[in-house]
Symmetry: C2
Subunit: 335 residues, 2 copies
């Protein structure tokens, strides 16, 4: 069912039948380490390049969710995924290894949530019985692609994010029973606040997150108080403050204690990641690790998870273009 302008309310909400998260060495030293299913000390994941390593991390994560959910490759009906690499090659190679019907997505760091919005709709409508929704990112593949060769040891400004080496995957299934359900999803619009600094992603994405959360609340008639927690993907410390300010300015302030940023939660501030974690794998791993486990432990009953993406490329940066942002949201509820 359509609600308002941008939101889908799922009449037959899919259940999160399994969820998996894998992180790299730095993430495994952060405050959420205990919540991840696998913490690799090898950021090549046994492969010969970082790109293949990221792909292997994603494949392993999706395979784990499939296995934990009790499905074989033959029974799994779709793989919704994307990543930050040019032409989403980490996902392409993972999908090749998985051999599943494939839906390739690109919403930058919002991709995991974008996939949840779409897959939930297809399951609710009976087009699919199940689907894997995943995303990955890798510090080393992202740095050399978006910024500089790592060997240069370039100094990072305080507003820069640290791309998480991480993957998350949720297996959604039609059906009943106790568990976490995806009950609504909201598409986002591209919003551009004319930020040009590719080291200031929190500022570039915060207006899109504000737009999507506001749309979700308007479309469903909810308020922030209806949620135990509102998670943002990777606004980081700076972007989180901007988001709170944007909501204050809009006349509908968000209670700061309700708002948790996955990127700002993934690392200790002493880990020197500056603005916080980012990347497609950030919101994916933190949702599939920390947030869903807290829901299963009874700590959280109803949350809104947003993923946000900065739709830039090195080419657009070199051409002095501004950085448009986009954000998607899903409502997760324990039933």
């Amino acid at each position: 069912m359509r609600a308002g302008k941008q939101t889908f309310v799922y009449e037959h909400p899919p259940r999160v039948a399994a969820h998996a998260s894998i992180v790299g060495p730095k993430e495994s030293q952060g405050p959420l380490a205990a919540y991840f299913d696998e913490a690799s000390q090898d950021d090549l994941f046994g492969q010969k390049t970082w790109e293949l390593g990221e792909s292997e991390m994603l494949r392993r994560c999706a395979g784990r969710a499939m296995r934990d959910g009790g499905l074989t490759q033959e029974e799994t009906q779709a793989f919704f995924s994307g990543d930050l690499n040019n032409q989403i090659i980490a996902t392409g190679f993972a999908a090749r290894a998985l051999g599943l019907p494939f839906v390739g997505l690109y919403g930058a760091c919002s991709t995991f949530v974008e996939g949840l919005v779409l897959a939930s709709a297809l399951i609710s409508a009976g087009f699919l019985e199940n689907a894997l929704c995943a995303a990955s990112s890798h510090f080393c593949t992202a740095e050399r692609q978006f910024r500089f060769p790592l060997e240069m040891g370039t100094q990072r400004p305080p507003s820069a994010h640290w791309t998480a080496t991480a993957a998350g995957c949720a297996l959604l299934r039609a059906g009943e029973g106790a568990g976490i359900y995806v009950t609504a999803g909201t598409l986002g619009r591209i919003i551009d606040y004319k930020i040009k600094d590719a080291n200031h992603m929190g500022a570039a994405m915060a207006p899109a997150v504000q737009s999507t959360i506001a749309a979700h609340l308007d479309d469903t008639g909810a308020t922030a108080d209806d949620f135990d927690l509102i998670a943002t993907g990777d606004l980081g410390w700076i972007g989180r403050d901007i988001l709170l300010e944007l909501f204050r300015e809009s006349g509908r302030p968000l209670p700061p204690e309700t708002l948790v940023d996955c990127g700002a939660s993934l690392f200790y501030q002493e880990q020197d990641t500056h603005a916080g974690g980012s990347g497609c794998g950030c919101v994916a791993s933190v949702t599939c690790g920390w947030l869903m486990k807290r829901m299963e432990q009874g700590e959280l009953k109803r949350i809104l998870v947003t993923g946000s993406g900065a739709m830039l490329s090195p080419t657009s940066t070199m051409q002095a273009e501004t950085i448009p942002g986009v954000a998607y949201a899903v409502r997760l509820e324990v039933k």
Copy 2:
């Protein structure tokens, strides 16, 4: 409704309420020129870079479909799109200008058909009343990104494709009445035949196209004879022959007269494009121009359109990886 392993049959098939196509200078000298809505002699489309030019072409094409379909920006519910640029920036900037709820896709040159499969499902299920499905490509943005700076004048091998400067957009709407309907859609699996030559895309993609067409026929119980035409996106002359051979080998030959490749149809062989046209905009513009207009003129009643993508990047090519392919299919019927 789900049919077989990979196919959705739409219980409430969306109607193609409008379709638009825009091409660049070289495409406007090809055999299909008369079918396109707009043929620009300026491959910058009034912008200062090719990337912004491609984005402007896509924006203009989507705006045209929206206008021809009688919808305002406020009434249009979603924009499904993607392109070949790193991080799909042509699409990102077009979506920024359009201001519509956005679904970013990456299926390489198959993206337009991937979007039709997903958007049709969401419309059929009532999550959306309408959606724009689009994709673009540009010879100059693709050459410098995937291959060499154009200024080098690098010689192209005979198996190389010519990336079409083109965009296509279909406006899908729920509802009744005479017209073209999207009645079924098939997801594809990633298939890799271990081709490593980035100038031999037809060979890299043909096995994925064979897999998806075969899945569609199996899932729906159809044969090639049930279609007036089976279109492939951009296999080109060489890939088309490989596809026919793969079907012969599978024991279910495709009648060659039924099979039309959009890329091989877009240019005269004398235009020196070698293997034929390619790019996300190839299947998008040829479907929205040539094929849909022939359906409206009564020449074609029921066709299967496949889009195929090669999931490579310059990085994967430099790392000597093979090139996986993926393909999606939609069944279009006049009612």
